[in-house]
Symmetry: C2
């Protein structure tokens, strides 16, 4: 098996000349956009016998397909005209109200006016970056941080500044130190982007005390916080502490998503935040796509109304917890004993660091693919150039029987490359 | 009936203070974003007895609801997992191929690699603006021009430069004159945004000779053209001339949409252009929303495959042609004799200019609403501050019986305000 991997979509032969003809047309923003390693690997891992721990998708075999078909049929039958027409930019009123209720269940009292429905969380990240980031102005992110968030900020030309993390997530003292340093240079960060619950890629869960400390720092420095909570409902031990938004509603923008617990293919997420900020975000959404899929919004509404989505989520937790356990066990068996990782208490990811590799995990990836296994290299998540020895492993969409086999392949491969003499 | 209209979403009482607290957080882009008059008027015109010629939507009573329900049920039953999962950023391969065929039918040979599927045309406009516009760099648009396109460019901080038009659309000599003037100042326009077929809002159809002249100018000045063709299939006399993209495939980016001929609520549009540009647009889309609704794409695919969409489109032409005729007749009967407009040979819009009004059509709008009729004021479409005496009337989504009555109300109102002595 021979595989070549590039960090950009493949350019067919003879195309380089053709591309350069167009270089002059691109905007500064376009020049600073980065393609995600994860998306680019999509095609490569679909073929052949590769076991892929790369994509952080929900597993499609848990989609309640019959249920979904019934909900769709219901929407098509009962509101054909509304569901097929353009809708309000902010989202349909009934779903905004239902999401406000959902926020209440998560410990955040909210009104429908504080909810903006988006085309998944990625659009929420993009709208936030457009509305609050400026070219070259600093934005604080985690080390490692979610590549979709980093790319949205980079696409809007924000300057990414990494904040230190450990096995409990972002370190508040590190954040205030960075803010102080920026301030001494006359700069103020535009916002802090953070995933407190089952971080992507780190798998960490931010403890209560750190949440309080972070919010305290944000108040002290008049900092906006963007809290991304795509995974909070997928906890395997206990429900996470209250969202940051519950602790500082005046300065936290919360991003939620149905993609992990219902269907990503419908593209429904939301932003919950202070109304004056939401109004501006809605103007940004108007220019971005006028409105999200009305049909998708009605299907999610019916899903929430039918009332057994909690049971479905609970069932999902069991499935993903089991997959996490399988990966954990396999990592203990098959990975080098000095590999470092913490066990995620929810979400989809192990972030594994393997010391003493002869080169970066990104450089090793083509060989790993040739060994029939895929991961995401750590460097894409680290804005400081770190993550060379790290990789993200997602257990979410790999069949149970394949998790052990995939980790065995990868562990043996990594042990093997450490034994090889360094090149040159 | 008493109605107040604002150009921004209403701010509840006491909120001004709260808003100003957040002003410092907004990006330069957010500060230059404009809310669309059309979207803001949405809520106002939904209530009461108002006959609204404002929204340029397809009429929902022509949606083939049963057909749609059947297609959705089919997708849900036959590809539940694929349709509910994330998909490729560029769009699902089968639909890209089907759209490439569709482009062929419109006289533009295309490969699937030259098609990027988007969340409606508005996202296509946004991606184009992000990828090719720069802060303060000039972008050429029509006078009047489509407000969704203008807003997408403004949201990306492009500097809008209006090009002259007449009853046949954009005037090529005017475009080259503007380019020469910019060049003499050391500037090059980033692109020209144009709607050749049944322009929104002007209703004009660009003749073959002008298309050739425009493309010739673009070649001479190495100009990129963005051709928006949301309405081309809705012709009432004969099929429009070949798209600009057929005339200069190396420098025209074509935007297509299913929103006017199928369902806007699914949010499926596309970009067809040179592959090197599409690859960059796809990276922009990755940061914007990862991928469009997979489910929506499969439903559109089934719609195209079932093969009788041409008949449906032909049926739509008959319906909209009849509405156009009703509005035309009503305009002749009820509007001041010196009102100027050209009769659209397709699409949804009459652009009417009424001379000698005592104030702008925007200022008159609250009174018009009080008289039970809505339109979109001309100024929102004119980046040069013009359009004060103009208004856009859409006949697409108004029931036939109401078109005559609405135009009667509006005509009498306008005649009335011209007779009133000027204020002060």
């Amino acid at each position: 098996m021979s595989v070549t991997i590039t960090t950009r979509p493949a350019i067919p032969g003879g195309d380089a000349h053709q591309s350069s003809q167009y270089e002059g047309f691109f905007s500064l923003a376009a020049r600073s956009m980065r393609s995600s390693d994860i998306r680019d690997m999509f095609a490569l891992t679909e073929a052949g016998d590769i076991i892929s721990f790369a994509g952080g998708f929900p597993t499609p075999d848990v989609f309640p397909a019959e249920k979904a078909a019934a909900l769709m049929a219901k929407v098509a039958a009962t509101r054909p005209q509304a569901a097929l027409q353009y809708g309000p930019t902010e989202g349909i009123g009934e779903l905004r109200a239902a999401v406000a209720d959902l926020m209440g269940q998560r410990g955040v009292p909210a009104t429908p006016g504080e909810i903006l429905l988006t085309a998944g969380s990625q659009q929420a990240l993009d709208l936030v970056a457009r509305t609050f980031a400026d070219p070259l102005a600093p934005v604080l992110v985690e080390l490692p941080g979610y590549v979709g968030g980093l790319n949205a900020i980079a696409a809007n030309r924000g300057r990414l500044i990494g904040c230190p993390t450990d096995q409990d997530g972002i370190i508040p003292a590190g954040v205030s130190e960075i803010i102080e340093r920026l301030r001494s240079q006359g700069e103020q960060p535009r916002f802090l982007y953070v995933i407190p619950n089952f971080n992507n890629p780190a798998g960490t869960l931010l403890p209560q005390e750190r949440r309080e400390a972070l919010v305290e720092i944000a108040r002290r420095y008049n900092l906006l916080i963007v809290e991304d909570d795509a995974y909070g409902e997928l906890y395997y031990d206990r429900r996470p502490p209250l969202p940051l938004r519950a602790l500082a509603p005046e300065r936290v923008i919360y991003l939620g998503s149905f993609s992990k617990v219902f269907f990503p293919g419908l593209r429904v997420g939301w932003i919950n935040g202070p109304e004056p900020l939401l109004r501006k975000l809605a103007v940004a959404k108007q220019a971005a796509d006028l409105c999200s899929s009305t049909f998708g919004q009605y299907v999610v509404l019916e899903w929430l109304r039918e009332g057994n989505w909690q049971q479905h989520t609970s069932w999902l937790r069991g499935i993903y917890r089991h997959r996490r356990d399988l990966m954990w066990e396999a990592l203990r068996h098959f990975f080098p004993a000095d590999a470092r990782y913490s066990v995620p208490a929810g979400g989809f990811f192990f972030w594994v660091t393997v010391p003493d590799l002869p080169c970066s995990t990104r450089e090793l990836l083509p060989q790993a693919l040739a060994h029939g296994v895929a991961y995401v290299a750590g460097t894409g998540f680290c804005v400081d150039g770190g993550g060379q020895q790290s990789l993200r492993l997602s257990f979410s969409q790999v069949e149970e029987a394949k998790i052990t086999e995939g980790i065995r392949r990868l562990g043996e491969f990594l042990a093997g490359v450490r034994e090889r003499p360094p090149k040159g």
